[in-house]
């Protein structure tokens, strides 16, 4: 359930996400951005499909926020997702640079990226997830 205080950010993200999905179709990149993400809040992208893993990147406001970045994976578009990867960025390192995450076994999976705000102050944020280019 989405707490009421997160609804504006989620709604804004949904607009961006919806626009991207409309352009790219299911399985294309998804991106999210917003303002005033409160401490403890979590926002997630939609799921994308990829057989080559994903590239995730994002940022929060410099020197005001720490964040936890999480990638989840599932076998289907709506099925249960399990956590595949997580990493934190601190108040100084405010960006998640372009990070490639690939499941250890081959397959066509669905991926979702999330950010949880861990800092003491509200922050602006960006978050994107894209299919990883085949190597």
């Amino acid at each position: 359930m989405v707490p009421r205080k997160r609804l504006p950010a989620v709604a804004a993200g949904a607009l961006v996400l919806g626009g991207l999905l409309a352009l790219g179709g299911a399985g294309a990149a998804t991106a999210d951005s917003g303002q005033n993400l409160k401490p403890g809040s979590t926002v997630c992208t939609g799921r994308i499909q990829s057989a080559t893993g994903v590239t995730v990147r994002g940022s929060v406001t410099r020197n005001t926020a720490s964040a936890m970045w999480i990638v989840r994976v599932s076998d289907t578009a709506t099925g249960p997702a399990t956590e595949l990867f997580r990493t934190a960025t601190g108040p100084v390192t405010f960006q998640l640079a372009s990070t490639e995450v690939v499941p250890p076994v081959p397959g066509n999976f669905y991926f979702q990226a999330c950010i949880t705000q861990l800092g003491p102050l509200a922050t602006n944020y960006t978050l994107s997830i894209n299919p990883r280019p085949a190597s």
Binding site: G53, T82, A97, P103
Partner: protein, 228 residues
């Protein structure tokens, strides 16, 4: 940056390490420590087997905003074909873990993709207890530029140190006690290969270090296993 808080954490980790080693004689984590890791170098831990993924922490400090890449590779068997499952550009992986249900071998590499030398590199890899971990499988490996050094492995009692390099490098075996205090350093010479049994006393733990004293890049590996 290696903050005071992290130094305390590192000290606490060393104490924990010593305590665990004293109780079990087993390697409690996979580790690698490097200095002066120049652009183009790559340093990799040995393998750890896990049923539930791994935790990673450490640092690769460079005086630039660019970051070395933390690369995690997996394989179904020790020494089998690998898949790179993570490329994370960062100077300090914090609270970083890869979760996967299924038995796999993991190794963690720091790829020095920046244009300046990394003064210090510390790699630590742990497995959650439910992951049925097996640490210390196979050798540490590195492609090490001139002047760089890299340490790893754990050995107790009678342990055989082996290593090979494409150019002559200096091999040593630092010895510490269970509290992480340095006791002595065994000189293993400068060569392209080393193969020597280390006789360690009670409460002594050895590792292997290699320093590239040549003027060209060294491609190398080293291991420390129980001498049978």
């Amino acid at each position: 940056m290696f903050t005071h808080r992290k130094r305390l954490a590192a000290a606490a980790g060393a104490l924990t390490l010593g305590a665990v080693l004293g109780l079990t004689g087993a390697t409690p984590a996979t580790a690698g420590d490097g200095r002066n890791i120049s652009p183009g170098s790559t340093v990799c831990t040995d393998l750890v087997r896990s049923d539930r993924g791994i935790y990673i922490y450490g640092y690769a400090t460079v005086a630039t905003t660019a970051s070395p890449i933390w690369s995690v590779r997996t394989s179904a068997t020790a020494g089998g074909p690998e898949t790179e499952i993570l490329r994370l550009p960062t100077q300090e992986p914090i609270s970083t873990n890869l979760s996967w249900s299924g038995t796999l071998f993991y190794r963690v590499c720091v790829v020095q993709a920046t244009t300046v030398t990394a003064r210090g590199v510390k790699i630590r890899v742990n497995v959650p207890p439910i992951g049925n971990p097996v640490y210390g499988v196979g050798p540490h490996t590195a492609t090490l530029g001139a002047g760089g050094s890299f340490c790893g492995e754990f050995g107790v009692a009678q342990a055989r140190a082996t290593g090979t390099s494409t150019v002559p490098v200096r091999w040593t075996a630092p010895v510490q006690n269970g509290d992480g205090e340095h006791l002595r350093t065994i000189d293993l010479g400068t060569s392209t290969a080393v193969n020597r049994v280390l006789s360690l006393g009670a409460d002594e733990i050895a590792s292997v270090c290699v320093q590239n004293t040549a003027t060209s890049t060294a491609t190398l590996s080293f291991d420390l296993v129980a001498a049978g």
